[in-house]
Amino acid sequence: MAATDENVNGGRHRALRGVTAMRSRRQPDTQGKVGEQPTTGAMLEVRDLRVHFPTDDGLVKAVDGLSFALERGKTLGIVGESGSGKSVTSLGILGLHQHTRADISGHIWLDGEDLISATPERVRQLRGSKMAMIFQDPLSALHPYYTVGAQISEAYLIHNKVGKKAARQHAIDMLGRVGIPQPASRVDDYPHQFSGGMRQRAMIAMALSCDPELLIADEPTTALDVTVQAQILDLISDLQREFGSAVIIITHDLGVVAELSDDILVMYSGRIAEYGTAEDIFGRAGHPYTWGLLSSMPRIDEARAERLIPIKGNPPSLINVPSGCPFHPRCDYANMTNGKSQTEIPILHEADPGHLVACHLTAVQREKLRAERIKVPAGNVSGEDA
């Protein structure tokens, strides 16, 4: 199962090999030692991350065994429906879960430093300086009582030994860099005096104010007008090039990640359903859930306008996760696996080099079904969907 192809190149594949190698070795008693060190040398490596919330109704396994790696300057898109554990993952990386309410295990290495075993104080120092986050709704994520400038310089003041004047000047610079006109006067405005797009720009300025190595954008465009969405996405990718940060984009919208991501991780019910490069996901998707996401996404490059096909059913409750493959109640092909879908949790394995899929379908079945389900963008496939 470990990747052996020597023709794959690039750090991402090495990173993935590390992860898969680790996964394959994660059988019974080897777990202890192998798990203690980062194996990939990537800037961010997450291994076997589990975030569980004990509740009165039972244990909510919001994230259950997530592993991925991210190189500097690269973008990872995490895609999934609500409740798939995307946001829980990002908050977990930043250490924003309350220790009293969440059980977190696994490893998150940021530049080789394990954030899970680090003290909360250490993680706090890293938050905002080395890793930063952009939130979904900039209106509610900005404090209504403080000026935009004050909120940006606040982060800068905490992590740098500078005076208030320098911090204010830095806030003005940052506002200018994210494309706010007349930043020197807008710096004293309150969030409610900004438009939605400008607020999100201000959020981005705040997140980037300490030049973080890792930027997590949690649904950065969901609350914005469609016209503004594209601008914000462009801004994020421009700034990424400029600052050289690694970016994680969390979204339910495959269209968003298609534009920006090098790698894509599809989450379902707190686990990885599929993980690969953008080409893997958009060209050779191997999981029925990804197929569902793809065919529910509007495309302007389709030869003819087609009805979008929604994924039937709803995401499962995280307390009563279906047995076996968590996707099987919504999967069209669950009956093709000789009952394995209902009883066994599918193991994440390589469908192609560096392209991981957690599905019981065999490679042959997958190829055949994919050809039926997914239209190749070139547009030479026509006919009915399966």
Binding site: L91, A132, L142, P144, Y145
Partner: protein, 334 residues
């Protein structure tokens, strides 16, 4: 902002006029609806075994025989311009704000009110400081330690504080600290005479009054904090890497305090108009006790005076709250 304050002040004057009109009407109408004449009303104010001519004289002196609008007009005129009373040969000028003369003691009402204000103000201000600090502090800690022993204990105490009336807690306090252990058995003196004795005399009333209010404020602060600490901007503040202390105080409490500020202003305005139960329980001669006596005596000028003064305080407190709101919340300002 200035125009806003001026506009609000003008509205306040109208409001006070309305309050006085209603108070006047109630006082004037109710006895008449009960079938009393101005003659039988006047009889109350004459003394024992009056002869009809004395009653008639009092009726004319107090103006009870005149129609309601004449009486009311005289009252309003007195407040604005002052009023010259003539009884027989002697003429007495009552300078503005003239609230008239007590029908019982024949003393001018306004000086009586002003002499009562310091007591009530001392009581209200001292208690307010105590309840605001303790209530908010307990509320914040309770919210942050939600579900712990501290939270349960303080919220249980708060429930007690809200439910127990002042004449109960006050009596207990008096019994223990004033009579049994004789710690705080002092008569009230003005702060200018002896600040130490002043404070010592007020400690029990302060604490009794503050117990009620801090219970209320602790519960308000707790629920406010629980709500704001769940806001997205708190998560943003944490994501910036701010120390938890800064997150709680600068980002959480700042937002949670706004509604508490509103209620605080109103409560304070209400109390300055007379903390009736507390003053009665501790025999403090403030506006509250004055009100009870005025009502007991059916002394219209005194009642009018104290009602208007209380309404004035509430209106002013409202105005201050509104102005403060604009200072605190930039969304109101723009």
């Amino acid at each position: 902002m200035i125009t806003f304050i001026i506009r609000r002040l003008l509205v306040s004057v109208l409001l006070l006029l309305l309050v006085s009109l209603i108070t006047f009407a109630i006082f004037f109408l109710i006895p008449r609806l009960a079938g009393q004449t101005s003659y039988s009303l006047a009889a109350q104010y004459v003394g024992r075994n009056p002869i009809p001519s004395q009653i008639r004289a009092i009726e004319i002196k107090l103006g009870l025989n005149e129609p309601i609008w004449v009486q009311y007009g005289r009252f309003v005129k007195g407040i604005v311009f002052g009023y010259t009373y003539s009884s027989g040969p002697s003429r007495t000028y009552c300078p503005p704000p003239c609230l008239g003369y007590s029908w019982r003691s024949q003393q001018p009402v306004w000086p009586q009110l002003t002499s009562n204000i310091p007591v009530t103000l001392s009581l209200a201000a001292g208690a307010a400081v105590i309840w605001l600090v303790s209530g908010v502090a307990i509320g914040v800690v309770s919210a942050l330690k939600r579900g712990t022993i501290f939270d349960r204990l303080s919220m249980g105490t708060a429930l007690m504080g809200v439910s127990l009336p002042i004449f109960f807690t006050g009596q207990i306090a008096l019994l223990l600290f004033s009579f049994k252990w004789q710690i705080f058995n002092v008569q009230y003196v003005g702060i200018t005479q002896n600040p130490l004795l002043w404070a010592k005399a007020l400690v029990l009333p302060w604490i009794t009054l503050a117990f009620l209010y801090s219970a209320l404020y602790a519960r308000l602060t707790r629920s406010g904090m629980l709500e704001t600490m769940n806001e997205d901007y708190i998560r943003t503040a944490r994501a910036k890497g701010l120390p938890e202390r800064t997150v709680i105080i600068k980002h959480g409490l700042r937002a949670a305090l706004t509604p508490i500020l509103t209620i605080f202003g109103l409560d304070l305005g209400l109390l300055v108009g007379g903390a009736v139960l507390t003053e009665y329980t501790f025999s403090l001669h403030g506006l509250g006790l004055f009100t009870i006596q005025a009502i007991g005596n059916s002394d219209l000028p005194e009642i009018m005076g104290v009602v208007l003064l209380a309404a004035f305080f509430i209106v002013i407190a409202n105005l201050i709250v509104d102005v403060l709101y604009a200072v605190v919340d930039p969304r109101v300002r723009h």
